[in-house]
Amino acid sequence: MSKIVVRNVTKVFGKPKTAMKLLKEGESKQEILKRTGATVGVNQASFEVKAGEIFVIMGLSGSGKSTLVRMLNRLIEPTAGEIYVDGEEIVKMNKEQLINLRRKKISMVFQKFALLPHRTVLENTEYGLEIQGIDKQARQDQAMNALKLVGLEGYEQQYPSQLSGGMQQRVGLARALANDADILLMDEAFSALDPLIRKDMQDELLDLQSTMKKTIVFITHDLDEALRIGDRIALMKDGVIVQVGTPEEILMNPSNDYVERFVEDVDLSKVLTAGHVMKRAESISIDKGPRVALQTMKELGISSIYVVDKKKTLLGAITASEAKDALERNEGLSSILHDNVSTVLPDTILTDLFEQVSTAVIPVAVVDEKKRLLGILVRGAVIGALAGRTEEWKLVQTTRTEVASGQSELPDMPLGSAQEVN
């Protein structure tokens, strides 16, 4: 179920009526500014955020992303449109309901931290609970838990001005977590931090998210950040959402020139993973003999092959010449098995694969946590994906599905590999 539903939300600063009419006639933001002097902040934006996902709204400054996120808790009143949170229309809420929504359901982290300078870290963290009238002991316990989550134990009696930027934003995050709202709005939360700290904070957010499963709406102007943390990304330009999709969709199928230009400089090696570029894995079951193995390799024109058990668990690899020796000595495959083959997990990003792929004698195996063989990494496909060839990537994607289905239906079919012999 969608946690947040946004329908045709529009914000016009100044002269809302005339501007709204022109917007409906399809006039552009620039044209409206010229004719009426009104600024269109957000123009008929529609999207849905699923429970438990990190939804990134990204765009350059002035694209309306901060305005859009502020309408989700009505720090800015929408000029038109509907916003539903858990099915409740929040634009129609009265003051009391709105305060309740902000206290219980939606909390927010700000770009410039916005901590209260006259309060200690602990007092800042408990602010959201304090205004709800929760008694001191309970709210301090809850605030301490939140501080523990963000790694600020021991700093609770310090003042914000005594902390570094990264730590101040941790306080901001703890304050937002303390009142245990399901929805977290993060407005350029890491943009004011220097790059290394920013990356740490992103990692930590992902880490926290894996256990907390909040619904997060994250605003950023940094595409790398969007790709790193977003489950889905909405791209904004001039107040309009130009594309919504997963990071892969945005990168590989930009919906228009603007998105394309936006993403063309992205370093794909930091976005694509082993799972994206792997080829179908060919393997042979351990209970087959060397003769079958040799035959398979011959048919496929390859010199080595992976060996798996009945559950598709990777055991190792054998080479054609050793299989021949084994056949002569009349031994099974296990006697010639190399079990020290290099493997990677499917979500390893390409940057971290280069060395392994380039030095491996046989293609690197992609396995899941249970060591089941998912696919193999062929040098050519890795390089092809990095060159950004869409067709290549789509091919890979199809192959992936085949691997997945092959795994369950044909567990021990001895298949040859299309691998390039090393």
Binding site: N73, L75, L98, I99, N100, L101, R102, R103, K104, I106, S107, M108, F110, Q111, K112, A114, L115, L116, P117, H118, Y127, G128, E130, I131, Q132, Y159, S161, R175, N179, L185
Partner: protein
């Protein structure tokens, strides 16, 4: 021009208004007069009850606590000088007058400032009124003050309040408006009511600015003591006034010096109360 537009009878209007007020609101003014008189007299009686050396030591310790050793030393020497010159009792009367005026300025000024900071319309009305209060020569409203409040300390207090209150109001408005917008936004995002926002965030953050306003009010109230003495308020101002009218230059200087000492002591003490602990470097 004179032909088609006769001179506007503003002077007549004011005279009529003052007469009307004196007659119709006489009881109210009498009430205010007796309350203020009681407050000032009470303060003077309280101050005089304390032996002068105890008073000196108390103020010295206060100066030491909120400021530094140098200021404490200055306070001690300054107060000793006032006592030595024989201006101790007039000094206490002046202190009572100033304190009363400042307390009233705070009690009225801070709430008005808060109100004006929240409402644009109030701000628009109050700004010209404050300009009027600060620039209209004090003698002009001193005379009607005599009608309303008789001769004595009370018209002095009222004139001081009129002249001294504007900085408290202005700086309360300024202090609240100066709270950074992103902090206000955060406060609202967590579901604060208007009242919670004011009490827990805006006022604490505006406090140094509000205290600067109060400090300015104290200084302005002190600057009014000589003018107040013209309508019969006792204290150092009366001594200066008497010395000036009798051309006793030396005596006038002594009394004036006493006012300066009190001004510096009050200024330094209140200035430092305004700064919070961290700004003072305690934490």
């Amino acid at each position: 021009m004179e032909n088609w537009l006769p001179k506007l009878p503003i002077a007549d209007w004011v005279d009529v208004l003052v007469n009307w007020l004196t007659i119709n609101l006489g009881a109210a003014f009498d009430g205010i007069t007796s309350v203020l008189e009681a407050v000032v007299d009470g303060l003077v009686a309280g101050f005089e009850y304390i032996p002068s050396y105890v008073f000196m030591i108390l103020l010295t310790l206060l100066a030491w606590k909120v400021s530094n050793k140098g200021m404490a030393l200055f306070t001690l020497i300054g107060l000793f000088l006032i006592d030595n010159l024989g201006y101790w009792d007039p000094m206490l009367e002046t202190l009572a007058l100033v304190l009363t005026a400042v307390i009233i300025s705070i009690l009225l000024g801070v709430p008005i400032g808060i109100w004006a900071s929240q409402k644009q319309a109030v701000r628009q009305i109050i700004t010209p009124v404050l300009d009027f209060m600060q620039t209209m020569p004090a003698f002009v409203y001193l005379i009607p003050a005599i009608f309303f409040f008789n001769i004595g300390v009370v018209p002095g207090v009222v004139a001081s309040v009129i002249f001294a209150m504007p900085p408290t109001i202005r700086l309360t408005i300024l202090g609240i408006q100066q709270v950074p917008a992103d902090i206000i936004e955060a406060t609202e995002a967590f579901g604060s009511t208007t009242r919670q926002k004011l009490v827990k965030v805006q006022l604490p953050l505006a406090m140094p600015t509000i205290m600067a306003g109060i400090n300015q009010s104290i200084m302005l109230a002190l600057s009014m003591v000589v003018i107040s003495s013209m309508v019969g308020a006792p204290g150092l101002g009366a001594d200066v006034y008497r010395a000036v009218t009798q051309i006793q230059i030396g005596k006038g200087f002594e009394a004036g010096l006493a006012i300066v000492v009190i001004a510096i002591v009050l200024d330094r003490i209140t200035q430092n109360i305004g700064k919070n602990k961290r700004q003072r470097g305690v934490m």
